[in-house]
Amino acid sequence: MTPQTLSKNASPATDLKARIGSIIAARETGVLLALLVICVFLTFATSSFLTVRNLLNVGRQISLLGIMAIGMTFVLVSREVDLSVGSTYAISGLVTGMLIVRGSALIPALSAGLLVGMVIGAMNGVLSTYGKLPSFIATLGMLSVVRGAALLITDGQPVTVDTTRGGRSEVVDQFYQLGQGQLFGIIPMLLVCFLIVAAISWLVLAKTTFGFRVYAVGGSEKAARLSGIQVFHTKILTFTLMGLLSAIAGILSLAFLPSGQAGRTGVGLELDVIAAAIVGGASLSGGEGTILGTIFGTLIIGILRNGLVLLSISPFWQTTAIGLVIICAVGIDKWTGLRRSQ
C-alpha cells in the first residue's frame, strides 16, 4: 500500500477514517475479498475444504509458485517481465541434484544451484538493459536456451536424488529434510521457506531504498534516471533476484519430489507465476504491485485448483477458470482504477 502522509493538524478520528479509506481502496483488499469469497463458497460446497490437513496441503502446494511469484513481483514492478523462470527453476534443481548424486556435500550443491539461477537472472538483466532487448524477447529466448542447456547436461535422463545413485547418506537425508520435513511436526518445510522469503521480500520491497528505486524505475524510467537512480543496475538486480528465487523454488522442488527431468520439470510454469503476480495486483505497465497482493493472488490460484479437484469438476475447467480469474482480476482493477483516479 502506498504510504499515506497524514496532516499533523487532523484529528484522530479523521486520521482513522483516512486510514480505513486507504485500506479499502487498496488493491490488495479487492484481491483478499475475492479470495475470501472463494474460500467461503468452498467451505459450504464441500466438507473436505476447511480442514487443517487440506489447508496445510494447499499451503505447501502454492509455496513454490509463491516464491517465484514474489520474484516476478519485483520484475513486474520495475516494468519488465521474465518468461524464463520455468527453465531456471528446472536447471537449478537439476544442477543441485546432479552434484549431490556425484557425492557432493550439501552446502556446495545448494550454492551451485543458487549461483546458476543468479547467473541466468543477471544475463536476463543485462540483455534487457545494456543489450537493449525488450525483456519479453530476451527472456523468451533464454527460456529455450536454458531449457536446452538443462536437456544437454542431463542428456534428457531423469535425475533422482538418493543414495543408490551415489549420494552420501547424510547429505541426502538433510536434503530430504529440507524439502519434506515439517516444522513442529506439522508445518511443511516448503511453506516455512515461502513464509520466510515472503517476509524478507516484503521488507525489501516496501521498506528499503532498493525497493523504492524499483517502484520509481517502474513508475517512470525517465524521472527515475533524472533523479539520479541507476536504472540499469536496479533492473539487473531485480532479474538476478528473480533468478535466485526461481533457483530456490527449483531446489526445494527436487528436495520434495526427489526426481526431476529436464523435459518436464517446470515446463509452462512461467504462465502461472505471472498470473499469480498479476491477479495479486502487479501490472505489466510497471510501478504497481505488492508482496501481500502477490501472496493473495497465489492463494487464489492454488485454492481454485484445490477446490476444483475437491468438487470433482472436470480438469479442463481448471485451465478455463485460471484464465477467467486473470481477466476478471485485471478487468476489475482497471474499472476501479478509473474510479479511484476520479
Partner: protein, 334 residues
C-alpha cells in the same frame, strides 16, 4: 426360390470378403506402395540405408530409451539411423522436420505422431514419393503407413484394470489418474481399463483425475483427489508419471497397506516403489524395442519383404520379477 439362393450366395460371398477385407487392406497398403527408384538404386548399389526415427517429444523420459533402441539397430544392422523430433510435443515442428528430411533424401521413416491429424498428410506425402513409412509407439491409423510397432493401448489398459481388480480382491473404490484425459493414448488406455474394471460388480470407479504434466502439479492433484476421496482403495495410473507420484503420496501418508496402486512404465522412482511393494504392479511398454523393431521393419521393406504390425506387448512387473529388469538393465549399461 431362385432369388433366395442368389441372395444367400451374395450374402455368403459378402461375408467372406468382409472377413478378408483387413488382410486385403494391409496387403493393399503394402502392395500399392512402390519404393522410389532413387532408393531402389541406392540399395542395389549397396549403399548404407538412411533411416530417420521421428519421436514425438525428444525431451521426455522415454526418449533416452527410444534413442538406445535406434543405436542398437545401428550397431546390429550397420544402417545410418538417427533419432530426430521436436523438443516438447509440437506437431508443427515435427511436420517441418519430416518435410525437410523428405527433401534432403531419406530411405525410410519411422514416426511417432504428436497428433494423428497433423501428421497424416506428411506421412501420405512421404509414401507418395516412394519413401516407406512405419509408425511406432504412437500409431497413426488414419494414414496409410505400412505397419505399426508398439503397444496395443486399449489392451494395455485392460491388463492394468484386471491387475488392479485382482489386487483388490474384486471389490473396492478406485480412482484413475492420467496426465491428460483428452490425449488419444489416455483415452485408449482408459477405455481398456474401464472395460476390465467393469467386469467386477463390486468395484466402483469414482473419478478420473487429470493431473497435468508438471511434477509438483501431478503430486498436488493426487493429494487433492485423495482429500476428496479419503476412503479410496485403489489408484490406477494410466502412464509413466502419475504412477510414482501416487506411490510417493501413499508411502508418505502411511497408506501402503490400505491403498493399492497399478501403473505404467519403469521410471527409477517407480522401480523403487515396486521393489518396496508400494506400487503393486507396473506395465512396461518396451520403448527400446519399439524403435529397434521399427528400424528393422524399414530395412525389411528396403529388402523387398512384406511387413506386418508388431505388438511389443505389455510386460507386467511386480515385486517378484522387478529384480530381473534391474539386473538386465545394469548388464546392458556395461
Amino acid at each position: 426360390m431362385i432369388t433366395h439362393s442368389i441372395q444367400h450366395r451374395t450374402a455368403l460371398i459378402g461375408l467372406m470378403l468382409a472377413g478378408f477385407l483387413p488382410a486385403i487392406a494391409s496387403a493393399e497398403e503394402n502392395a500399392s506402395f512402390t519404393l522410389a527408384q532413387t532408393i531402389q538404386d541406392r540399395i542395389a548399389k549397396g549403399e548404407k540405408p538412411i533411416i530417420r526415427v521421428s519421436y514425438h517429444d525428444v525431451s521426455n523420459e522415454f526418449a533416452p530409451f527410444i534413442k538406445k533402441g535406434v543405436e542398437k539397430a545401428v550397431a546390429d544392422f550397420g544402417v545410418d539411423a538417427k533419432l530426430v523430433g521436436p523438443v516438447g510435443a509440437d506437431a508443427e515442428k515435427q511436420v517441418s522436420e519430416i518435410e525437410s528430411l523428405i527433401e534432403k533424401g531419406v530411405d525410410g521413416l519411422a514416426i511417432s505422431s504428436v497428433s494423428t491429424d497433423a501428421l497424416a498428410p506428411v506421412i501420405q506425402r512421404a509414401m507418395a514419393r516412394g519413401i516407406p513409412v512405419v509408425t511406432f509407439n504412437t500409431d497413426n491409423p488414419s494414414s496409410k503407413r505400412l505397419a505399426f510397432v508398439g503397444q496395443n493401448l486399449v489392451e494395455s489398459g485392460r491388463v492394468a484394470g484386471k491387475l488392479l481388480a485382482d489386487t483388490l480382491g474384486g471389490k473396492g473404490s478406485v480412482i484413475i489418474t492420467t496426465l491428460d484425459a483428452a490425449a488419444q493414448w489416455s483415452i485408449d488406455r482408459e477405455k481398456g481399463a474401464r472395460e476390465a474394471l467393469g467386469k467386477y460388480p463390486d468395484i466402483k470407479i469414482l473419478t478420473t483425475v487429470t493431473t497435468g504434466t508438471e511434477p509438483q502439479q501431478i503430486y498436488g492433484s493426487i493429494e487433492n483427489a485423495m482429500q476428496a476421496h479419503p476412503n479410496v482403495d485403489g489408484i490406477l495410473s494410466l502412464e509413466c508419471c502419475s504412477t510414482p507420484a501416487a506411490g510417493q503420496y501413499v508411502q508418505r501418508n502411511g497408506l501402503a497397506d490400505k491403498v493399492k496402486i497399478v501403473g505404467f512404465d519403469l521410471l527409477p522412482e517407480t522401480i523403487k516403489l515396486v521393489q518396496g511393494n508400494v506400487v503393486a504392479a507396473t506395465i512396461d511398454q518396451g520403448p527400446e524395442k519399439q524403435s529397434y523393431d521399427a528400424v528393422q521393419l524399414l530395412l525389411d521393406v528396403l529388402k523387398g519383404k512384406k511387413i506386418q504390425d508388431v505388438d511389443t506387448g505389455a510386460v507386467v512387473y511386480t515385486s517378484k520379477n522387478i529384480g530381473d529388469y534391474v539386473v538386465a538393465s545394469k548388464e546392458q549399461k556395461q
